[in-house]
């Protein structure tokens, strides 16, 4: 993939802000809520992709049953109505099956968000590092599902938005791995070009980063103090 420098920086900032945003949502909602949403959305997505036909058949069956009831098929002498209902148009056809399954999945995710907000207490859902990680994982998964569809809004007519979006989905370019690898490649390329641009300042920047990293590590140790400096000679391993 070849992206010029300016666009690369914009993409990197967008990618990082996207991750921060979902990390922040995760921190606000807590680890347990985010994990439940992640597992539910992932599992339901996989089930709907693999076994969606079953749900489609049930939905169509329910549709015919409703049509039968509406036509009075449960009344005495309604055999003709039964025949009419069985030949009624299906609710979910081959053309709208994907849209139907996607709609079902969105409903499941929204309901899960709502239920976790209601049923999981703040005490049980801690706002820690896990919450940020699960939030980011949710963001990445949702991006891989929604972005190929949302991009249709911005594409030109040729090829048609539907074709282009479908192409993204079917080629696997809308997958989580694709999104992640492209995102991190952009970040890496941008940092590399930024690093090269530093020129003679590189050693100083490296020294500052190394020092900041060590200070961060040290400051994360609660109650840290020097112990055993020039000590007994016994291993602390």
């Amino acid at each position: 993939m070849s992206i010029n420098g300016s666009v690369s920086i914009e993409l990197m900032i967008s990618f990082v802000i996207f991750l921060i945003f979902f990390g922040w949502i995760g921190l606000r909602r807590g680890a347990k809520r985010e994990l439940i949403v992640l597992l539910t959305s992932l599992i339901s997505w996989l089930i709907l992709q693999e076994k969606g036909d079953f749900l489609v058949r049930i939905t169509n069956l329910a549709g015919r049953l409703l049509a039968l009831i509406a036509a009075g098929g449960l009344n005495e002498g309604g055999a003709a109505n039964v025949t009419a209902a069985s030949s009624a148009q299906q609710l979910v056809t081959d053309t709208n099956e994907n849209a139907f399954l996607f709609f079902v999945w969105v409903i499941i995710v929204l309901v899960t968000y709502g239920l976790t907000n209601k049923l999981v207490t703040d005490k049980d859902s801690k706002s820690n590092g896990w919450a940020i990680l699960w939030g980011i994982a949710n963001g990445l998964f949702f991006a891989s599902v929604f972005l190929p569809r949302l991009v249709l809004l911005f594409l030109p007519a040729e090829p048609s938005p539907q074709q282009a979006g479908q192409q993204l989905v079917t080629e696997g370019r809308g997958s989580v791995m694709s999104f992640l690898s492209t995102g991190f490649q952009i970040v890496r390329d941008t940092i590399s070009s930024f690093w090269a641009g530093l020129g003679d300042m590189q050693p100083y920047v490296l020294l500052i980063l190394l020092t900041l990293f060590l200070i961060l590590v040290y400051s994360s140790i609660r109650g840290a103090k020097i112990a055993n400096l020039g000590g007994s000679g016994k291993s602390k391993c």
Partner: protein
Amino acid sequence: MGPIELLFITIALIVTLIGMARGYVKELGNTVIIMSAIFLLAFFEDELTNIMTRVGEDILGLSTPPNGFLSLFFSGAFIAIVFASYAGKTLDFQGAPMEPPGRWLLNLGVGLLNGYLIAGTLWYYQDKFQYPMRDFTGFVDPLSTRAQAMVNNLPQNLFDNPVYWIIPVAILLILFVRK
């Protein structure tokens, strides 16, 4: 990737895994010692090289220049300091690490840093003395492009002046004293 890259990457990974197993609180003390060792050996490199060349040539009767002896001396001195930092007189920070997953990330980060410093320093002293132990290090002449790029980024080649290595150590020591 050539055998020499694999060899030193493997050393770095082993050190990283050890670091992850021990935890960053203990590993940070090793980092300080390792960086101090890099500074000392680099700062006195010319003097030590002259002295040990004399020892090698005049006392031990080795060929000129005694690259094998020199690389053995510098690597041995460095390994001795690192070993002492792990098993001998240790600089240990007593304190509680942060909660996971931050703890794991810091374990990984400090482990990787120590792995880079140790494997990188060992590689540097092989490279500086023209790979005298080429039979053991998988050296292929000339180095691959990737290996050459890695050599340019070894700890001793990162900074123009070895004093740079002691700056973070000094700042950490100041923080210790302030607590």
